[in-house]
């Protein structure tokens, strides 16, 4: 009894010590990083008012910049379509990998591990990193943007789908296996019907995320709305550049509105 009590006290002491060490470590790392990069918090804060002032005097659309609106909308449309296309095609591939990768539905452990391994590699390379890698093969083109989004989404969605399948359908998969149903029958009668709402929800989430990153990827890949922004900004046409930002923000809000609506209906 006494032994248990003293061990408990030890555990609490140890936990407190751990927390203290962790906090100290964070402070230390922050200090080192700031010193190395010569980032001064005071200077950083001091530059904020100036930045705001600059924004107000330059960064708003004018009547003149509005004439560029059809052009911008065209680019935005391209970006939206590429994001959606990349996501949906990636979702299809991810579904196949997830079915072969999930413990509930894999054909065997070895092949399942390979499927999940491939997806993990793709997931751990960021979309922006993919864009840089793909620049070598495709150069600055919409294809670069498309594949960058595609690969990133594929990795992420495979992981999300595997978890969904394991969580939602492993019990009914077991039941259908016990009735003597064949593999593909089980997939179509149990896995897909039980997972479909979560799958759609993940795809919508991915579309939203991809539209956000498409802007950045476009900067790198030289296509779509990101490139349009880059062009206007570098040619010092700040008014039009600000219009691009507004179009992006409105589009993202609009897409989010739609996907929230779809989610409400299907779930």
């Amino acid at each position: 009894m006494i032994w248990v009590k003293s061990m408990q006290a030890d555990i609490f002491k140890k936990k407190k010590l751990n927390t203290a060490v962790f906090i100290l470590l964070v402070c230390f790392v922050t200090f080192i990083a700031a010193t190395i990069t010569e980032f001064s918090i005071a200077k950083g804060i001091a530059s904020v008012p100036k930045a705001i002032q600059w924004s107000f005097s330059n960064f708003y659309p004018t009547k003149e910049s509005l004439t560029k609106l059809p052009d911008i909308l065209d680019k935005m449309k391209e970006t939206l379509l590429i994001s959606i296309a990349a996501t949906t095609v990636a979702a299809l591939l991810a579904m196949i990998f997830a079915i072969f990768g999930s413990t509930a539905t894999r054909v065997n452990a070895f092949f399942g591990g390979i499927c999940r391994g491939i997806a993990t590699v793709f997931r751990n390379i960021d979309t922006a990193a993919w864009a840089m890698i793909l620049l070598f093969s495709f150069g600055q083109s919409p294809l670069t943007g498309y594949f960058a989004l595609f690969f990133g989404s594929f990795g992420f969605l495979t992981r999300a789908f595997v978890e969904t399948i394991d969580e939602v359908s492993s019990s009914s998969v077991e039941a259908l296996k016990a009735t003597g149903a064949s593999y593909f029958t089980i997939i179509f009668q149990s896995v897909i019907p039980s997972c479909i709402p979560q799958i759609i929800s993940w795809v919508l989430f991915m579309v939203e995320t991809n539209i956000r990153s498409a802007t950045l990827v476009g900067l790198l890949a030289g296509s779509g709305i990101g490139f349009a922004f880059d062009l206007y900004y570098k040619s010092l046409n700040y008014h039009t550049a600000s219009l691009v930002v507004i179009v992006i923000v409105v589009s993202i809000l609009f897409i989010e509105l739609i996907s929230n609506y779809v989610r409400r209906v299907i779930l």
């Binding site: 019990s171 039941a175 296996k177 009735t179 003597g180 593999y183 593909f184 179509f188 009668q189």
Partner: protein, 262 residues
């Protein structure tokens, strides 16, 4: 009086050191109602799943309907599984589908992959599903989504899915462990009916000794992966219960006294 199911020298190891079953032997007659009891972790679920090869036994022999289950190839195994219905503690339904769709899932083992994938059922199968659901008292729920049902109703759908297979035997893994007493009684009464009226053999894992004693023709007691009792519920003694459940069985003996008295 031939045995429908014969389990001989069956052992199951998980990994290198977990021995879930060791040298299990018993046989079950056609139409018999058998309860398998034992503490959790005794190997009840593993035993049930070895019979229809949801889990592959490490060694031994299992004969069902004169077929050696352990020697079947994939196709033959699927065919044999259609003759064995299975019922689960957590019902294992596809929650988003309707009651009748879940019931018809019991027919999927008889279909080609194509018909199965698309869920094409004959008019006869649909009529049979409705008939079975009526018998189980689910006539009002036929077109409801399964996630709108109570636990007891879900389990009855589980039974319907098994019955539409026209099985020779039902394997039930803790069918009433998640249910309240009155739903439990309904489920156990249905299972007993199935065994008595339809002549279907029923194997039930239970952890309620009183229920097992009340409903079964035969009790199989397992502890630590070994059969420690196999016989009629009438002859079971407090000592037997002790052996099945280990040392914590003080209260159980009291319960059993009540049942024998009543």
């Amino acid at each position: 009086m031939t045995a429908l199911l014969e389990v001989a020298h069956v052992s199951k190891k998980f990994g290198n050191d977990t021995k879930a079953l060791s040298d299990v032997n018993f046989s079950v007659r056609e139409g018999e109602f058998v309860s398998i009891i034992g503490p959790s972790g005794a190997g009840k679920s593993t035993l049930l799943r070895c019979i229809n090869r949801m889990i592959d036994a490490s060694s031994g022999e299992i004969n069902f309907d004169n077929v050696n289950i352990l020697s079947l190839n994939k196709r033959e195994l699927k065919k044999t599984r259609t003759k064995i219905g299975m019922i689960f503690q957590h019902y294992n339904l596809v929650n988003r589908l309707t009651v009748i769709e879940n019931t018809l899932h019991g027919r999927l083992g008889f279909k080609t992959t194509f018909a199965g994938m698309l869920g094409i059922y004959t008019e006869e199968e649909k009529q049979q599903a409705i008939k079975i659901l009526n018998v189980l008292g689910l006539n009002e729920q036929i077109f409801k989504r399964s996630d709108q049902l109570s636990g007891g109703q879900k389990q009855r759908v589980g039974i319907a899915r098994a019955l539409i297979q026209n099985p020779r035997m039902l394997l039930c893994d803790e069918p009433i462990a998640s249910l309240d007493p009155s739903s439990s009684k309904v489920i156990m009464d249905h299972l007993k009916n199935i065994s008595v009226k339809m002549g279907i053999t029923v194997l039930v894992n239970l952890h309620q000794v009183d229920v097992a004693l009340k409903y079964s023709d035969t009790i199989i007691g397992i502890n630590g992966g070994q059969v420690v009792y196999n016989g009629s519920p009438k002859n079971i003694t407090p000592d037997d219960i002790h052996r099945i459940y280990g040392s914590e069985a003080g209260k159980l003996i009291f319960d059993m006294g009540e049942i024998h008295a009543g």
